[in-house]
Amino acid sequence: MLKMNDISKIYRTDLVETHALSGVNLTVEEGEFIAVTGPSGSGKTTFLNITGLLETFEEGQYFLDGEDVSQLSDKHLSRLRNEKIGFIFQGFNLISDLNLYDNIEVPLIFRGLNKQTRKQRIEESLELVGLGSRANHFPAQLSGGQQQRVAIARALAGKPRFLLADEPTGNLDTMMARQVMALLQEINRQGTTLIMVTHDNELAQRAHRNIQILDGQLSDIAKSQLTDLAV
């Protein structure tokens, strides 16, 4: 489904060049569940952004479903983002001026779904994260954990084939974190490819495959090595 060859990303500011990613090679098969771990600032979000077509890269090639994404127009990329990819951001990124219902509806409108389908999907996904009764609330009226769940609901409502989650349990208590994890696992089981960034080694254990990023370098690691890296 996804293939990266030698991807590098450099951030240039006036003073420094940060090699956020260097020489990343990765192949992901349809239906995989990959957990990405690594210390803060190592390049996890950068990797996820590039994977999710939110950011461009300097070097290398990235094929998504066989398409070379560096060749695609903004319009085409936007459509891929909207149709194939669900993104759960590290900082929820809800639109504060819209209520939960509208927040979830926006990407569905981009998709061109009709009103009926949209309503059904929104209600389903809000129900799924346990916020069915809050459709008319605004993000500011929710706790951090609840906002996190709305962000998950928004990503799921589009029924993406490819779900990217950046610390989806970072703002949740252990109980809630487990529930959300179970939810993501269930979605993965139903066929959605899942890449999740996490600091929680216990949750990382549940993935099919573990990847570690250290200073922009990406490598597969065995589950047994996970505990050593706990930050």
Binding site: T45, N49, G52, L54, E55, D74, K75, L77, S78, R79, R81, N82, E83, F87, F89, Q90, G91, F92, N93, L94, I95, S96, D97, L98, D102, E105, V106, P107, I109, F110, R111, R154
Partner: protein, 408 residues
């Protein structure tokens, strides 16, 4: 994003939306009115004058010698002028020359009722040959008999005439239901009665009347008084079309008389141009005001939209991340602005209508609403606002989604 969401965002950001709307409304009000006024003013100059502009000559002279007998002087001048080979007709003229009102405002009334407002008109007070000099074409009735002409000095013993010939449009304005011939109308502040004995084809003759939208309202009376002030003016008709020599000959002739100066000798065409220049200056000032209003609005909208977008950078980035293309962001912002512009334009047009009413009734400015011009102004302001939005909106659309989604 659907219209529904845009509307929700507009209501969320009430104050800035209101400011943008207001800005557009004000622009429409100002530009709408100034363009109505400019248009109507310039349009007036398409109204035909129906006169021999290059054959009628206005002569302005001033007598500075107080002992000079003005009556005798005028008799002498007219005799000499008529003797010139180019001159066909010559008449003394009191306060009204062709498209040049020397002084005073004239009204005509169809009744003695002081409550009723009269009609404005160009009132030509002439000596014999006055009717011919103006080139009047009679359609009904007759012109004056020589015995009907009164030519005396001003004062209590000034003799008044009793007959008048009027233009067709004035006849209809004064006597809409009856035949104007034989009717009595009232002139001067004293409301003296004059009987209508003739009606002539419309001509644009009076400066003051033109200013007051009564361009075809005129009347000729066979009475002329002199000595009210130092001014002694004539209206001539020549058969040399627009010749400069003719003007010089007339000037030289009048120059021979001592105790007075010849101020100006000009064709009616020249007087008309002067009138036109004055009015087009007014129209151009109005256009200038429109231009400034457009500029201020454009800059204002750019500033306001830039601000309203800058507070929503994150929001826009999120939309991009969720799959909005740059084009869609651009379209959404343009649509949002169009909704505001639509409301602003609607409010502005109403305000323009109201202001226009005020101008027309209270300031006697001509500039009634021109529907198609209003439509053009509305479209132009909308385009302007769209262009103003385009600049900051494009910048917003270029925001890289990762730039905003990364920070929490």
């Amino acid at each position: 994003m659907a219209i529904k969401h845009i509307l929700k965002l507009i209501f969320k950001h009430k104050s800035i939306s209101l400011l943008i709307t207001l800005q557009i409304a004000i622009a429409v009000t100002i530009v709408g009115n100034t363009s109505f006024i400019s248009y109507r003013t310039l349009q007036n100059w398409l109204i035909p004058s129906h006169m021999a502009e290059e054959q009628i000559i206005n002569v302005y002279t001033r007598v500075f010698d107080k002992d000079l007998d003005q009556g005798a002087l005028i008799e002498r001048d007219l005799q000499n002028l008529r003797a010139l080979p180019e001159v066909e007709f010559a008449s003394y003229a009191a306060n009204e020359l062709v498209l040049a009102t020397v002084n005073g405002r004239n009204f005509v009334h169809n009744s003695l009722d002081r409550e009723k407002q009269g009609e404005r008109l160009a009132l030509f007070a002439q000596t014999p040959q006055g009717v011919e000099a103006l080139g009047v074409k009679l359609t009904h009735g007759r012109t004056f008999y020589d015995t009907e002409y009164m030519f005396t000095s001003t004062g209590p013993q000034a003799q008044r005439a009793s007959v008048v010939v009027i233009s067709n449009t004035l006849a209809q304005a004064l006597f809409p239901e009856q035949n104007a011939l034989g009717q009595t109308l009232f002139l001067h502040t004293e409301r003296l009665p004059y009987q209508v004995i003739g009606i002539y084809e419309d001509m644009m003759l009076g400066e003051n009347a033109v200013y007051n939208n009564s361009w075809y309202h005129s009347a000729i009376i066979p009475e002329a008084h002199y000595g009210q002030n130092s001014q002694v003016n004539y209206i001539l008709k020549v058969h040399t079309d627009g010749s400069k020599r003719t003007l010089e000959n007339i000037e030289n002739l009048l120059f021979k008389e001592e105790g007075r100066i010849v101020k100006q000798v000009e064709y009616a065409a020249r007087a008309k141009k002067r009138l036109w220049d004055g009015r087009s200056t007014f129209a151009f000032i109005m256009m200038g005001i429109s231009g400034i209003a457009i500029l201020v609005t454009g800059v204002g909208i750019i500033a306001l939209v830039s601000f309203s977008i800058s507070v929503r950078t994150k929001e826009i980035g999120v939309l991009r991340a969720l799959g909005a293309s740059q084009n869609r962001v651009l379209r959404t912002l343009l649509l949002e602005n169009s909704i505001l512009a639509f409301v602003g334009i609607a409010v502005g047009l109403f305000a323009a209508l109201w202001l226009n009413q005020y101008f027309v009734t209270n300031l006697r400015i001509q500039g009634l609403i021109v529907p198609w011009l209003a439509a053009i102004v509305a479209i132009a302001v909308w385009l302007l606002s769209a262009c103003a939005v385009y600049i900051p909106a494009r910048k917003a659309a270029k925001i890289a989604p990762a730039q905003v989604t990364k920070t929490s």
